[in-house]
């Protein structure tokens, strides 16, 4: 591994990693793709805020209110910087990535709104892909059902890549929005955004990226990507639960109708009508996840202090190591790219004749190895590969090759138990 990347020092920042599991097993946490662990730097900022600086934001005009508002809005600045947002007001705090995706989906076909880009009805089309997380499928299915629009999707190749062979037939003048994962949460595949975007621009549609699996793991610059919307979630980026982010071009946020109504998203309210605050507040109805946003601010600061590039490099080495080591387990088949080209540190696989539930449980029970088993909220992708479920190991900054060794040892044992 890189000599500069001091994984042992990093591990000390994450209290849970030195926890002993029942039965004296050490914890081998290979489930960061599901949710990441939290460093003391995040936990303490949250504790301290709750204990000494908490009050509601925006509305309060006293010391605590000012401190809380300042910390909350500073978190927005940090997140904006982290993803290269041209304007801090383009960062909308949501409760998770799913809310961010639904927020955008609800902007379409809303009779309140007349901006032609968001008008939607029969004949209009929405394009997603077969490798999406349910959170980037179901909101669009619901939208299609509400409006009568048609949902279409890219297929996935046997190698686990987006099949762009029919890009021009799929994305057409009828397309209003294309929403795909930046990085697949099952395959690890990083999708070719620029190629898709070029076509999207040709037909005058909008493009959204589900960056839940990329923002935590590699440098993401929304301006450089050039898309219109991007969603990610705090808990996968060493941040707390209860906080997600929608980034969108400011001009689009202005053009979109509000999603939820309530305190803080308004400018003026009469009984029979309201005017709305400018973005981002327009989309932050009610008391926001204050302490959670502050925790996310601390999280992206923590990631930046280590260097997201360095983290990506570390994960790359882990992935190389894992692909090799797993390749030697008899009956193991990786679902997704077997090379390091355009792929992140998520490796899903099947073990012949053994159900992933059993794989996961034995790994946990006997070795303290935490992996995820099932369809990972990507059932259509599993249907595509004709399998009900996979076992998934996903890596992050605090993982080590020794942990991959533990995984492999565990898999050999699993094969023995169910032989």
């Amino acid at each position: 591994m890189s000599t500069e990347f001091d994984v042992e020092r990093i591990r000390k920042d994450f209290p849970v990693l030195s926890r002993e599991l029942p039965g004296g097993r050490p914890l081998v946490y290979l489930d960061s793709g599901n949710s990441s662990q939290k460093p003391t730097q995040v936990i303490e900022v949250m504790r301290e805020h709750l204990a000494s600086h908490y009050a509601n934001v925006g509305r309060a005009m006293h010391v605590l209110g000012a401190e809380s508002t300042e910390a909350y809005e500073a978190a927005r600045d940090k997140v904006a910087t982290f993803v290269g947002a041209p304007d801090r007001d383009e960062i909308v705090f949501t409760k998770n990535a799913s809310e961010a995706l639904n927020l955008v989906a609800y902007a379409f076909g809303n009779p309140i709104n007349e901006d032609p880009r968001f008008v939607m009805g029969p004949g209009d089309e929405i394009v997603i892909s077969e490798m999406e997380h349910h959170s980037n499928i179901v909101p669009w299915q619901l939208l299609a059902r509400r409006t009568g629009a048609t949902l279409r999707w890219f297929s996935v190749t046997d190698e686990g890549r987006l099949d762009l062979s029919n890009l021009d037939e799929l994305v057409t003048e009828r397309t209003k929005i294309v929403s795909i994962a930046h990085q697949s949460n099952v395959l690890g595949t990083v999708n070719p955004v620029a190629r898709v975007l070029a076509r999207v621009r040709q037909v005058g549609a909008l493009m959204m990226l589900d960056a839940s699996q990329s923002v935590p793991h590699k440098p993401v610059d929304v301006a450089a990507l050039g898309v219109d919307f991007l969603a990610f979630t705090g808990h996968k980026a060493v941040g707390p639960s209860g906080i997600g982010v929608l980034w969108a071009r400011g001009e689009l946020l202005s053009a979109m109708p509000p999603f939820m109504g309530g305190g803080e998203m308004i400018e003026a309210v009469w009984m029979d009508r309201s005017t709305y605050a400018p973005a981002p507040h327009k989309f932050e109805a009610g008391t926001p996840p204050i302490v959670e946003a502050i925790g996310l601010g601390a999280a992206v600061e923590y990631l930046s202090s280590i260097g997201v590039d360095a983290i990506a490099g570390h994960e790359r080495e882990l992935t190389r190591y894992a692909l090799e080591a797993l390749g030697e387990v008899p009956g193991l088949k990786v679902i997704g790219p077997r090379d390091l080209q355009d792929r992140g540190g998520t490796v899903s696989f099947t073990l012949e004749g053994i159900h992933p539930h059993d794989v996961g449980q034995i790994l946990d029970d006997e070795f303290g190895v935490a992996v995820r088993v099932g369809h990972h909220c990507a059932r259509p992708l599993h249907l595509r590969f004709g399998i009900p479920a996979t076992t998934r190991a996903s890596f992050y900054l605090y993982n080590t090759p020794a942990e991959i060794d533990a995984l492999v040892r565990g898999l050999h044992h699993v094969r023995k138990v169910f032989a």
Partner: protein, 144 residues
């Protein structure tokens, strides 16, 4: 090893050597249940005879060791008992499974099925354990 609380020898035994597997005639009712979240599925047939006696529980399906073993244990427990008796076992088993690891199982009622107690702590596995049992209950209720 925690494993003991989940992969009891008895469960692995039933998984590797399932009892009464395969669909048989005659039967009163056949049902097909699926656990959509993990793709496990089971087809189950029940034959009830004189005095409400369960004469046969036959099944086929696919899934993890827990769901397969649960079907096998069910076959053993149900065959030869009355419908009424088996429904109270199903009820106790359901209570155990949905107790999130906090319910003390009644061994008197459950017999071998008590081996599944460890599963209750894993919400994601509870449905695996219950798949066959819910299918059975469904089939029996329809027969009634």
């Amino acid at each position: 090893m925690i494993a003991e609380s989940m992969y009891q020898e008895l469960i692995l035994e039933h998984y590797k050597h399932p009892q009464g597997r395969g669909l048989r005639d005659p039967f009163d009712n056949e049902v097909h249940h699926v656990n959509p979240t993990c793709g496990d599925e089971i087809t189950m047939r029940v034959k009830v005879g004189e005095g409400g006696k369960v004469e046969d529980v036959s099944y086929d399906g696919q899934g993890c060791s827990i769901s397969q073993a649960a079907a096998s244990v069910l076959h053993e427990l149900a065959t030869g008992s009355t419908v009424e008796e088996t429904l109270s076992v199903v009820e106790e088993f359901t209570r155990l499974m949905q107790g999130r690891g906090k319910v003390e199982p009644d061994e008197e009622i459950l017999g071998d099925a008590v081996a599944f107690a460890g599963v209750a702590k894993f919400p994601a596995r509870v449905k695996c354990a219950l798949l066959a049992w819910m299918a059975y209950k469904d089939a029996v209720v329809r027969s009634a």
